[in-house]
Symmetry: C2
Subunit: 199 residues, 2 copies
Amino acid sequence: MARARLERGDLVRRLSEVFHARGYAGASLADIGTATGLGKGSLYHAFPGGKEEMAAAVLADLADRFADQVFAPLEGGLPPLAAIEAMFDAVHRHFVTDGHICLFGALSLTSDRTPFRARITAHFRRWHQALVACLVRGGVTRAHADGLAGETLALIEGGIVLYRAFAGSAAFEALLARQRARLMAVLAARDSGTAQRTG
Amino acid sequence: MARARLERGDLVRRLSEVFHARGYAGASLADIGTATGLGKGSLYHAFPGGKEEMAAAVLADLADRFADQVFAPLEGGLPPLAAIEAMFDAVHRHFVTDGHICLFGALSLTSDRTPFRARITAHFRRWHQALVACLVRGGVTRAHADGLAGETLALIEGGIVLYRAFAGSAAFEALLARQRARLMAVLAARDSGTAQRTG
DNA sequence: GTCTATAGATCGATAGAC
DNA sequence: GTCTATCGATCTATAGAC
């Protein structure tokens, strides 16, 4: 029982890079074969459902990563302030250090009738709800938290658009730092009983 | 000399909708033919360069619209405060009322080696610079204006991602209103000599 | 589990009648 | 300026040898 030359995780990572670079429709099996070093036979052995199953595996992997590193802390694993910091650390690590992109965001903009629509909606909804819940735990009113959470998600997703448009992470990193400080300030203000001023 | 059944402008609009719904790679000439009601012969008569020229026409149309409705006011046609309001009005009209999407943003996320990379970069760079210049004219420091402009662009682009992910414009419109108020407040503060507090 | 060969459909693009 | 017919290439997916 020889070991696969490519671990499943590495394989999914390669797939992620291809779908990122070419888009779902633009990524051909020939492209995928080149990027993974596998022939079509091997690819279909690993993913009998073909390209759609490959993309689904990438999204599932992405969802797992977010569940562990982002949602879990926000949803109760950590005090609000620490959870927010963990979220921004994870986002920075994921998109800048590891060089990933947000395949959910990319698929959201393109492809009206993608088979992944439900997953996309669920991803952002869960992220939004987790962030709102965390801020509310930190003493922010629900309405205010709702606005801040939407703003934070939009800044991150839009930041990735600019990241790629400008071919550099400087603007994206500045946006992350800026929003991180803003949320910290809101939580600190609530903590010390000061009236909220932001938003 | 019979009139074309579809004006060039209407044709480009239809093309825009197809590329929006399917993405560039995902939009086949069969899709485009269905959406426009034209056969391939007619399409190639109008766009000898094929699909790439069709997409280029959509981007050119989009660029023209932005030049008129967004960049011109920001770049000097109006007082800063009025220009910012004009920008948000145009953005709301374009993305909500007219139901367009930001094809620049969609193409930016997907397709690494798209032939449109330079246009995409130029679009966002010009928008960013125009907004910075406008804020500086309003008395904001360049560093502060730079941050605010990046934040504004990211919120708009990310807002469109959420707009589509959530299948509703409510969150997007809230983001627009929120950022509009923030920029207004910054300009008003500069106007009255108050120290800036946002960002 | 990997490969090659290939099926069957669809792709972008062209030619030529009207 | 629109259509139909069709080309060659490429696509996803399968079959079967090793």
